[in-house]
Amino acid sequence: MAVSPSASHAWYPPADSYWVDPAQANEYPFRYGDVFATPDHPGCVTSKGKRWPHVIVLHPSCEINAKSASDTAILVARVNRIQNLSAPQRAVVRLGWREENLVAKVAHTNTFWMPPLPMQEDGADWYADFRRLVSVDPKSLDESGREACMSHDARVYLIRKEMSFKYRWNVSIDEVRELERQRIASDPNFVGPKPSWV
């Protein structure tokens, strides 16, 4: 499938393209970008001892149970409620940029915005914080359970945002998608449905 080129620097896809339909999620292995219930781990608590609401997988960048990564610790980031931020901060995190004197600037680059999870009833949105990281055992994630399976389309945006945070690289979404397309297309061990653009 040809994807129309997008020169826009927008950080996020439309909200309805984030999550795989829960009815089909079983076809997708646990993978980078999936949101899990917070595992039982001493690092997954706030400085005040409150348990993180959710975690998002940031490493490995392939399937969690892939042979090459099956015994690797899983790097997860804290997922917070947007509602806990101040009102002006909420809007900026939801966009990932702010305008000051006609200059559009990157803002809160350590965050990745997410809409409500598929089975969530209260309609509240979330953000992952790339600065709050913990390595957990793969088994502990298995036990806590996946709450949202991120679509391939949204994972491309997550990869791009992480590159922006970790390396300060501003790469176009089309280039990141193309790299991901090539990676998936040439991976003989790729599991689960492939995106339409591969």
Binding site: A15, T72, A91, R94, V106, W169, Q182
Partner: protein, 155 residues
């Protein structure tokens, strides 16, 4: 600009005279910030305002003068396609209104945006990545590889 709407509290002239001591007047205005004094129901003689109401009216008047002075310039700028800083629009009382996640996500995913500065104000440059040959191993190759060589493989 103030969004407050005050209801006038009607007081007869004779009754107002009995309320017109400093203490009673303060109490009356605390309860009813706008008091209409009338000899008859349809004949207002005076409107007495609590200080906060008066201050807010003065502020609104000044704001209105600023809007009247700026509006032609604003319209001309829009017609020419000239961008207007958001803090200026906010000062003018013009805001997006809806900053729900639904509205902001729809806006940012449909409207092209070009970022020019990083978070710390550095000029934002665009990086281009050139994919090389992917480093992948088949299951058989993985089994043949020495454990040490696998240390950095994965994900």
């Amino acid at each position: 600009m103030s969004d407050m709407v005050y209801n006038k509290f009607l007081v007869g002239t004779a009754e107002f005279r009995t309320q017109a001591t400093s203490l009673k007047l303060r109490k009356l205005l605390n309860q009813h910030p706008v008091v209409s004094v009338a000899r008859y129901r349809d004949e207002t003689e005076a409107v007495v305002l609590a200080p906060k109401v008066f201050d807010s009216l003065v502020q609104d008047q000044e704001h209105l003068v600023e809007i009247k002075r700026t509006l032609p310039m604003l319209v001309a700028a829009l017609q020419q396609g000239i961008a207007i800083p958001s803090d200026f629009l906010e000062r003018m009382g013009i805001t997006a209104g809806d900053d729900s996640w639904q509205a902001l996500n729809a806006f940012q995913s449909r409207t092209p945006i070009y970022l020019s500065e990083s978070e710390n104000g550095a000029r934002l440059t665009t990086a281009h990545l050139t994919p090389g040959e992917p480093l992948l191993y088949s299951d058989e190759e993985l089994e043949e590889l020495d454990e040490d060589e696998l240390t950095n493989v994965g994900g």
